[in-house]
C-alpha cells in the first residue's frame, strides 16, 4: 500500500472518531433539556416530600397557613393562582382576539408591523417593572377611580355582587388579575395573529366572493379553521399567567385568607414562595413551600403541554 492511501485511511479514521465525539457532545447537550425538566419536577417532589407525608391530601384542601403552629395548607394560594389567572384570561382573550383581528384584517399594511412590534414590546418588559408600576401607579388608580365605581354598581347585584364588594384597597385579586391579563395579551395575540395568517387565501377569497363581510369571514372561516391553534395560544397565555411571580407579588397583598370578594388581598402560589422562602425557619415550612412549587410546576406543565399539542396539530395539518 502506498503512503497516500495509508494517510487517507488514517485521516478518515480520525475524522470518523471526531464526528462521533461531536455528535456525542451535541447529544449530551440536547439531553440536558430533558434533564432540566425532569430534574426540576423530581427535585421538587423530593424537596416537598416532608410536607406531602405530614399533611397528605390536607395539604391541598386545608386553608391553614400557620408557620408558628407548623400547620400548612395550600388552599389559599391555589385559589389565588386560579382566580387571578381566570380574571386575566377573561380580560386577555377578547382583547387579544381584537388585536389579532385588527392586525390581520383592519389595519392598513404599513401600520401592521409597527403596531405588532409595539404590542410585542409589552412582552419584553420585565415582570418586576409591571410589579413596580402596578404598586405605585395602578393600585392608586384602581382604589381611587375604578374600585369605588365597581363597589357602587356591581356590588349590589344579586349572586355576583359578593365578588365585587369590599374596601377599595387597590391591592387585591382583581388588580392582580388585570395586571396578569395585560402581561399575557402579547403572547396570546401574537399566536392568534400568526395562525390567522396561515389560513389559505383561497378559502377567505371564496367567502368574500359569496358576499361575506370581513367579520363573517373571520368568524365563520378563519376562526373555525384555526380553532385548535387559537385554543393552544390561549392555553399558552394561561400557562404564563399561572406561573407569573413578581408582578403578582407586588399587587396581590400577601394575605393568607380566603375571601369571596375579588377586591380583598389574597395570595398566589408563586407570590407565597417569593415572599416567604428566605424566611422559612423550619424544615416543614421550607418543604411546604417547595411542595407548593411542585404543584405549580405540575399544573403549568399540563397546561403548556396541552397548548403545544394543540398548536402542533395545526402545524401538521399545514404539512409543515
Amino acid at each position: 500500500m502506498n503512503a497516500d492511501a495509508v494517510e487517507a485511511r488514517d485521516r478518515t479514521a480520525v475524522e470518523t472518531r471526531q464526528d462521533t465525539l461531536f455528535r456525542f457532545v451535541l447529544f449530551g447537550a440536547a439531553s440536558v433539556v430533558l434533564f432540566v425538566l425532569a430534574g426540576a419536577a423530581l427535585s421538587m417532589l423530593w424537596g416537598g416530600r416532608l410536607a406531602f407525608q405530614t399533611f397528605g391530601w390536607h395539604f391541598i384542601f386545608s386553608s391553614d397557613w400557620d408557620p408558628v403552629g407548623k400547620h400548612f395548607g395550600a388552599l389559599v394560594p391555589i385559589y389565588g393562582t386560579l382566580a387571578s389567572s381566570a380574571i386575566a384570561m377573561v380580560i386577555a382573550v377578547p382583547v387579544s382576539f381584537g388585536i389579532a383581528l385588527f392586525l390581520t384584517e383592519i389595519a392598513p399594511g404599513w401600520l401592521q408591523a409597527p403596531i405588532a412590534a409595539a404590542i410585542e414590546l409589552l412582552a419584553g418588559i420585565p415582570s418586576i417593572i409591571y410589579g413596580m408600576w402596578g404598586l405605585f401607579s395602578f393600585v392608586p388608580f384602581m382604589s381611587e377611580h375604578v374600585l369605588p365605581w365597581i363597589n357602587d354598581h356591581l356590588g349590589p347585584l344579586p349572586w355576583i355582587g359578593v365578588l365585587f364588594s369590599g374596601p377599595p384597597l387597590g391591592i387585591g385579586m382583581l388588580t392582580a388579575g388585570i395586571v396578569l391579563g395585560i402581561m399575557v395579551i402579547p403572547f396570546i395575540s401574537s399566536v392568534m395573529r400568526d395562525v390567522f395568517r396561515t389560513v389559505p387565501a383561497s378559502l377567505k377569497e371564496s367567502a368574500y366572493a359569496l358576499g361575506s363581510t370581513t367579520w363573517e369571514v373571520v368568524w365563520k372561516v378563519v376562526l373555525p379553521y384555526t380553532r385548535s391553534a387559537v385554543v393552544g395560544g390561549i392555553f399558552l397565555g394561561l400557562g404564563r399567567a399561572l406561573g407569573e411571580t413578581m408582578a403578582v407579588t407586588f399587587v396581590l397583598g400577601n394575605a393568607h385568607q380566603l375571601s369571596a370578594s375579588l377586591l380583598m388581598p389574597g395570595n398566589s402560589i408563586a407570590a407565597t414562595i417569593a415572599n416567604e422562602f428566605t424566611e422559612a425557619d423550619s424544615d416543614l415550612y421550607l418543604s411546604s413551600l417547595i411542595a407548593l412549587g411542585f404543584l405549580l410546576f405540575v399544573v403549568t406543565l399540563i397546561v403548556l403541554a396541552c397548548a403545544r399539542l394543540m398548536l402542533h396539530n395545526l402545524a401538521r395539518r399545514e404539512g409543515r
Binding site: L26, V33, L101, E105, F297
Partner: protein, 288 residues
C-alpha cells in the same frame, strides 16, 4: 316571514362595522398600557437617575447611595448565565436540526420539552437550582444565580439555533459534504457561519430575558448590601434590589428602585429591539 334584503344587509354591515370598531379599540387598549407603563417608569426613573447610581453601593435606610454593587452583580450573573446557557443551547439546537434525523421521536420529544421549558415559570427553575445546588453547597451564591439564569437562556437559544439552522439551504450541506469534509467541520465552519446572525439574535434575546429576571435569583443569589467580588457568596442584583426597595416604606429606597427600573427597562428594550433589527437587517442583506 323572511327579513327583507336591505334590512339584513344593514344588520350585517352594522355587525361588521362593530367588529372593526371593537378590534381597533382593543388594539388601542393594549397600546395604552404600554405607553402608561413606559411613561411612569421612564419619568420616575429619569428623575432618580444620577452619577451616584453607578458609583455608590446600596445604602442602609435613611442614607444616600446608589446601585453600583447590584449593577455589577447583575452583569456578572448575566454573563455567567450566557456563558453556560448559550454554548449548551447552541449545541442542543444543532443536535436537533442536524444530527437527530434517525431518531425523529426523540427529536420531537426534546423539541416539545424545550417549548414547554420556554414558558415554564421561572420561580420554579430557581427552586430547582436551590434544591440541587444551594442546598448541597450550603450557602447562597452568585454562581447559583448564574446557573438559574442559564436555565432560562437555554430554551431560548435551543429554539432559535434549531430554527435558524433549519433555514440554511440543504445545498450548502451537500456541497460541503461532497468535498469530503467531516460533518463536524461542515457544521462549525459552514452552517454556523450561515446561521450566525440568527444564533446571535437568540443569545441576545436570552440576555434580554434574564436582565430583568427576579424570581429565580431570590433564593439562589439572595442579595448583598455591600460590594462583593466573590462570586461564591451572596450577590446583589438590580431586580432583587428593586423588589426589596420598592416594597420598603422609605422614599429614598423607592427613588433608587425607580432608577434601577429605568436602567433595567432601557437595557432590556435596547437588547430586544437591537436583536430584532439586527436579524431583520441581515435577512434583507442575504436576500438582496
Amino acid at each position: 316571514m323572511q327579513q327583507s334584503a336591505p334590512r339584513l344587509i344593514l344588520k350585517r354591515r352594522a355587525r361588521n362595522l362593530g367588529s372593526k370598531v371593537l378590534g381597533t379599540a382593543a388594539t388601542l387598549f393594549g397600546l395604552s398600557w404600554l405607553v402608561w407603563i413606559l411613561a411612569v417608569t421612564l419619568f420616575n426613573g429619569a428623575r432618580a437617575l444620577g452619577l451616584h447610581i453607578f458609583t455608590d453601593i446600596t445604602p442602609p435606610p435613611g442614607a444616600a447611595g446608589g446601585l453600583a454593587n447590584a449593577l455589577f452583580g447583575s452583569a456578572v450573573m448575566s454573563l455567567l448565565g450566557i456563558a453556560i446557557g448559550a454554548p449548551l443551547g447552541i449545541a442542543a439546537g444543532t443536535y436537533l436540526s442536524e444530527f437527530a434525523e434517525r431518531r425523529p421521536i426523540w427529536r420531537e420529544t426534546i423539541r416539545f420539552v424545550n417549548d414547554i421549558l420556554l414558558s415554564a415559570p421561572s420561580i420554579v427553575l430557581g427552586l430547582f437550582v436551590y434544591t440541587i445546588y444551594v442546598r448541597q453547597v450550603g450557602h447562597f451564591s452568585g454562581i447559583a444565580g448564574g446557573i438559574a439564569l442559564s436555565l432560562i437562556v437555554l430554551p431560548v437559544v435551543v429554539r432559535t439555533t434549531d430554527e435558524t439552522l433549519r433555514l440554511v439551504p440543504n445545498m450548502m450541506r451537500e456541497a460541503a459534504l461532497s468535498l469530503g469534509i467531516p460533518r463536524w467541520k461542515v457544521t462549525v465552519q459552514v452552517l454556523y457561519r450561515a446561521a450566525a446572525p440568527g444564533i446571535l439574535t437568540g443569545v441576545l434575546l436570552g440576555l434580554a430575558r434574564i436582565t430583568g429576571e427576579t424570581a429565580p435569583l431570590l433564593f439562589t443569589a439572595l442579595n448583598n448590601q455591600f460590594w462583593n467580588n466573590n462570586i461564591d457568596g451572596p450577590t446583589a442584583s438590580v431586580p432583587v434590589v428593586i423588589f426589596q426597595f420598592a416594597m420598603s416604606p422609605y422614599d429614598a429606597w423607592h427613588s433608587l428602585a425607580w432608577a434601577g427600573a429605568f436602567v433595567v427597562t432601557m437595557v432590556v428594550l435596547l437588547l430586544s429591539v437591537g436583536a430584532r433589527t439586527f436579524l431583520l437587517k441581515n435577512r434583507i442583506d442575504s436576500n438582496g
